[in-house]
Structure formats: C-alpha cells, structure tokens
Amino acid sequence: MADNNDAFVRFVEVQKSYDGETLVVKDLNLDIPQGEFVTMLGPSGSGKTTCLMMLAGFETATHGDIVLDGNPINNVAPHKRNIGMVFQNYALFPHMTINENLAFPLKVRKMPEAEVQERVKKALDMVELGAFGTRRPAQLSGGQQQRVAVARALVFEPKLVLMDEPLGALDKQLREQMQYEIKHIHESLAVTVVYVTHDQSEALTMSNRIAVFNDGIIQQLAPPEDLYERPDNAFVAQFIGENNKLIGTVKEQHGTNCTVETEDGSTIEALAVNNSGSGTKTTLSLRPERVVIRPEAGRCPNIFEATVIELIYLGDHMRTRVNLLGHDDFVIKVPNSSGHQHLKEGEKVSVGWLPEDCRALDYA
C-alpha cells in the first residue's frame, strides 16, 4: 500500500451531518492510492452515498478534509474537480443522443470538434456500442444504457471515477457480466475507482480493497480475501458471507489463542482477535465451511455433539443445519466431494473445528 501522504484520495477525519443533530458519517479516514478499485460496502443508510457525494462535491463535509491528488478540495466546485461519476439511474440526458451525451463533457471543456468526434467514437467502441451513437437513451436496454453511462464518465479521462450502485437496476446475469466489464476497463485504463454497492458478492468480485461501512464508520478496510477470512469484528464477520455466531465469556487468554466458555458451560478454543481480555464477553465467528464432520480424534481441540435438523441440497455442497451447544441455527457446509459423508435428518454426529478458524471478536 502506498505511503499515506501520496495517496491519491484522502479522507481525513471527515464528519457529515445533514440536520445538525446526528452524524451520518463519523470520523472517516480513508486513503486510496492511484489506480486502486475501492468499494464502499454496507447496509442501507450507512452513509456510503453521502461519502461519495462529498467526494464529488455535491455535499459539503461538516468537518475534516478531503484531499485529491495532494490538494484539499473541500471548497472546489463539483465541475472543477474532474471526477467522473456513474449514477444508479445512469442519468443519461434523455433529450440528447448517445453521441451527444458522450460529447457533453468534451464540449463543455471546449475541445475541438474533430477531437470530440474521435474520443466519442473511441469511448463507444470501448463499451462495444459503436453502432448506437445516434440513438436516444430511451432506445437502449438497461445494460446498454449502463455502458454508455460508464463510457461518459470516462470519456474526458478523469483520474478518478465514482460509481454509486451502477448495477443496482440490472438483473443478476447482466450484473455479473457488467462487473467483469467494469473491472476490465478499470484494469486497462489504470483509473482510480470508488465504487458503492450493497451487494457483497459484487464487492468481492471487483475490488482491490473493500471498506465495510456501518453506522457512518468504516468497520474494516481490507482486500476481499482478508475481509472474508480475517474479519476484525463481529459486524464484518456477520455482514460478509455466511457466519456462525456463538456468544461466550473469555476464561483464559494464552498467546494468540483463548479459551471461551459458552452459555451452556462448554469450552471452546478460539483465536483471540478482537476480544477485551478474560472475564469479558465475546462473539465467536466460525465460517460454515470450516466445520469438519466426524473429525479424527486429536486433530481438533473443539469437538462437540450436533443433531442434524435440516439438509438442503445445493449442488456443490449440502447446507446442513444442526443443533449445537443449544443453538439450532448452526450451519455447516458439507462439500459434495466424492466419498463425502451422508447425513440424515435427526442423526447425531460429532463435529469439530480448529482454534484458528474460530475468531473471538468484540461483543456488541
């Protein structure tokens, strides 16, 4: 990661309040190096759009600095920021043709006509819509409009492009295809992208790093695989992917591990990540695919008896819900590998997991 001071985009202690009473964004610090694809991911109302709007200049930060390429831009008007933006509803100008839409940012920059033509053509070719230049936006499909919106945000070669849920209106298949297209464009143009979504698989697919937002705070900023495999706190563990949550009290802390006693008196060996020492409550987080059925003796310190409640066949794996330590929403993913163990509903089975797969996190 680049050194803080030459980060391309910096949020420094940024706060935002709309009504003067509640903070929608609380103390945001974020450094984005040039060329990175950063996604803001979080539940509805967590302040993602607000952050993007502050960066684009349509909202002012109540406190703190936003720095772009070394210059504070708090007092720079939106049209002077040179930031491309893709809106959720695309915001293609309905009274202009596709060509005119793409030419708009070039014309307001007083670019010579010949160059405008050339750039528009290049941008349309980039999104493979060369033949559609003379149509109106209403004559294009949702996916095509979306590509035009991306092309328009890029045609004036901004160094930074913001996208606020640009794929939200598309169906699943088209969305996945567009994810790859945007990703490829990002890679080939080396442009910095700040992307907002609340679809986590989209975030995981596309991003270099993901900032998980909740309640106006970045809960964790990390590459996709870290976020999934090494969540810092209970919110991230719960928000990203499927997660088994167990509540317990820390008995003893030894090295990187700790011993946790659950409500029904069982003890679990876990990796101490973000718990506040012995005697305090902690949330244990355990991914369903890390639970082993009928572990060999001596391999896992955590072995418990579980009762199978429900089996759902999902092709590549069997989603198995069991009752474990008094919780009957404990989920195990049993891979559909050759020679896998067949389970039956109501069957009692021993399950186990390694301490490093079970993370002791904060208790919210």
């Binding site: 200049g57 915001a91 009274h95 940012p105 920059r109 945000a153």
Partner: protein
C-alpha cells in the same frame, strides 16, 4: 411456412380474429356503458351548443321569411342589368311591408338588412310606416315605383335592391365575411366594408382579431417569464417551504375571478395603492393611468392565468431527477451550463403545455378585459357577448365564435405538429 400463412382456427372453426373480437365486445360494451352518462351530458351541454352555434353562423331566415314573395319576383332581376327591378317587385314589396308593419315583423327584417348595408333600417321602417297608410286599389296599378321614390329616392338605387336580394338567401356566408370586415357588394362580390364600419380585422395591428392574438401572446410570454422561476423553486425547494409556496400559487384558484380582477382595480386605479406608493416615493410626480387601458388588461390577465403556467411546468420539473443536473456538473458543466443544456430542455414540454393552456385561455378571455380594459382593449369574446346580448346579431356572434374555435383548434394542431400533444403533461 405454409402454416404461418394460414389463419389460425379455434374450436368450431371460428377464426382467431373473430374469437378475439367476440371476447372484446363485452369489455367494450361495458366501457361504453360506463362513459354513457358523461357522453350524454357532454353532448347536451357542449357539443349541441357548438353545433347550434355553427349552424347559426350561416342560418339566415329573417329576410327570407318576411319578404318571401318579393324575393321570388327579384329572382328574375339581374342587378348588373337594369338598375331597378320591375314595377311588380315594388308592388309585392309594398304589400309585404304593409303586412309586416301590421304584425310587427318588419323591424327584424330592417335590422337584419342593416347588418348588410348601413342605412337600411331607417329606410325600411320609414317606408313600411308610410306605405301601410297608402290606400290599395286599382288606381295604384303601375304607380308603386313612383310612390316608393316619393317616400325615399334611395328606392331607385341598385344597391338597396341588391341588398334585399342577397340578404334573402336562406343560408349565407355573410356573417363570416363580416367577422373579417368584409361584405357583399351589389353584384355579390366580396369587398371590404367601408372604413368607418371596419373593426375586426382590416384596421391592422389593433383590430380585434390581431389585438386578441397579440395580447394573448404577450400574456403567455409574461406568464412563462414569471412562472418558470416560481415553478423551479416549487420543484426544488425543501418540501416544507415549497408546500407553503404551492398554497400561495393555488390561493388565486380558490378566489373568485371577479374578486381578483377588482383587486387589481383597487391596486392600479389613479387614486389606488400603486400610485400612492409611487407618489410617496417620488418615482412619479403626477398620478398615471394604470388601469382601464392595455397595461391594466395585460397585468390582470397575466396574474390570473399565471397558475395555469406554473402548474404544468412544475409537474414536468417534478419528474426531472436531480441526478441529471449533478451528472452534468460532474461532467464539467458550470451551474449555468448544467441548467441551460440539461435541465431547461427537459422542462420545455412543461412550457409548451403551460403556454398552450394559457394562450388558449387568453384567446377567449372576457371578464377581465371587460372590467379593467378601456373600450379599445376588448378582446374578441367581448364582441361575441355584445352581439349575443345587446345587438342581438347572433349570426355575427356565432361566426366570431366559430372563428375563435377554429383558431384554438389551429393552435392545438400546430402544437401537436411541432411538439406532439402526447408529450404534454398537465398537473
């Protein structure tokens, strides 16, 4: 391929088309039943009067009724030949005048003839009065023409007889000609009216028709200029403030037209509020005439029609998401460029709808100009009302009305051609 060309058949050999028509017939019947009361209402209160107005604008029964026998005699007379008709015509007319004088129908005929030719009313009534006293008998044989000329020498005039002849047509285009300051000459060719009788069209820029047109256009333009910013505020201010503003815009709607118009009289009259204020502030040193003239008409009409401009523009602006302007800004447009190149073109259909509405309403405006305008500031509706209520020239009133209706339809069609009526959003 062969199969595709075949018409589809459903059970019992009925073609698919017929089956569809049958299925839809019930729905259509039900729909028709639902709109039937309205249809009946509209045809009685709206379509029938319009049809009647159209009919009256060409209907011409009076002269044909009162002078029916004279008109038969006049059929053989060619005005371009002999300057006066034969003695037989004088004799028949004398009889009909006397009869008309007795049963009081001659006055109506005289009035009607006067529409066509100034001076005819007095000529006819005078002659009728005098001719009814003449003893009828064999001794009058061959002396009727002299008697008429004795009463008034105009009876030797080609034009008087020609007027009676063409005014006797059961159906006539004369009222339409009159509505454009035209009329028939003695040979029934179309000519301009004498200048002292011109009013509607031929007196140039300030004739009734032109005046109606340009005052409406001016009022429409003022409504756009004043209404657009208000609509913009309504659509873009926070809800709490814009609701208040909306009430202020709607308030005039809930006030009687008459009250609003008289309020302008209070404000604008020579001893009124505005003059007082301007005198007090020293802007003027002599009270100025602000009302009962063109200025007052334009001000009051603009005020009264303003909501009809604001609401359509507002309803269009409401549908323009703020993201368009933001997108334009993010693409490098200054606030003005973003407004002018992106926002304004999208609001044009609102201006079109509001403009159409205000212009059409203004074309037919009556009460306001009648109350705050001077005699030379009246629009065409005033003359329609005047001919309907006072001068009772219903033929002319109807033809003015028909032209007004045609004008409104023409504006509508023009708008449809230029903008497309289905782009219009109202309220």
């Amino acid at each position: 391929m062969v199969q595709a060309a075949q018409t589809f058949q459903v059970a019992e050999g009925m073609s698919l088309k017929a089956a569809l028509a049958k299925a839809e017939r019930r729905n259509k019947t039900r729909a028709l039943l639902l709109v039937l009361p309205l249809l009946v209402f509209v045809s009685f209160t709206f379509l029938a009067p319009i049809a009647q107005m159209m009919f009256r604008s060409i209907d011409n029964p009076v002269v044909a009724g009162v002078f029916s026998e004279t008109l038969i005699v006049l059929e053989d007379w060619d005005p371009s030949g002999a300057p006066t008709p034969p003695e037989k015509a004088y004799e028949t007319l004398a009889a009909e005048l006397a009869r008309g004088y007795k049963n009081r129908t001659v006055g109506r005929a005289a009035t009607r003839l006067n529409y066509s030719q100034g001076g005819m009313r007095s000529l006819i009534t005078k002659t009728a009065r005098k001719i009814s006293r003449v003893q009828v008998g064999p001794f009058m044989e061959g002396r009727w023409k002299d008697k008429f000329l004795e009463i008034d020498k105009d009876w030797g005039d080609r034009e008087v007889w020609a007027t009676i002849k063409y005014s006797g047509d059961r159906y006539t285009a004369e009222f339409f000609l009159k509505a454009l300051d035209l009329g028939y000459d003695w040979d029934k060719s179309v000519t301009a009216e004498p200048e002292n009788r011109q009013l509607y069209f031929l007196t140039g820029f300030d004739s009734v028709w032109w005046r109606t047109f340009w005052i409406s256009a001016l009022v429409t333009a003022l409504c756009v200029l004043l209404g657009y910013p208000v609509a913009y505020l309504l659509a873009n201010l926070p809800l709490r403030i814009s609701n208040l503003l909306m009430i202020l815009v709607l308030l005039p709607f809930w006030t009687s037209l008459l009250v609003r118009t008289t309020a302008w009289i209070v404000v604008l009259q020579t001893e009124g509020v505005l003059n007082d204020v301007m005198m007090f502030m020293g802007i003027i040193d002599e009270r100025i005439q602000l009302i009962f003239n063109r200025f007052g008409v334009v001000i009051a009409m603009t005020h009264i029609l303003l909501p009809f401009m604001i609401l359509p523009i507002y309803s269009v602006m409401k549908t323009i998401p703020p993201s368009y302007e933001r997108a334009a800004r993010s693409l490098g447009a200054t606030p003005w460029t973003a407004f002018w190149k992106v926002y304004f073109p999208q609001s044009l259909s609102g201006i079109g709808a509001g403009g159409l509405l205000v212009f059409i309403l203004a074309l037919g405006y009556y009460i306001t100009p009648a109350l705050v305008g001077g005699p030379t500031d009246q629009l065409v509706s005033y003359f329609i009302a005047d001919h309907t209520n006072r001068s009772l020239n219903w033929g002319l009133a109807s033809s003015l009305g028909a032209f007004l209706l045609a004008g409104v339809l023409a504006v509508y069609v023009l708008y449809d051609k230029l903008v497309g009526i289905d782009n219009m959003k109202l309220g």
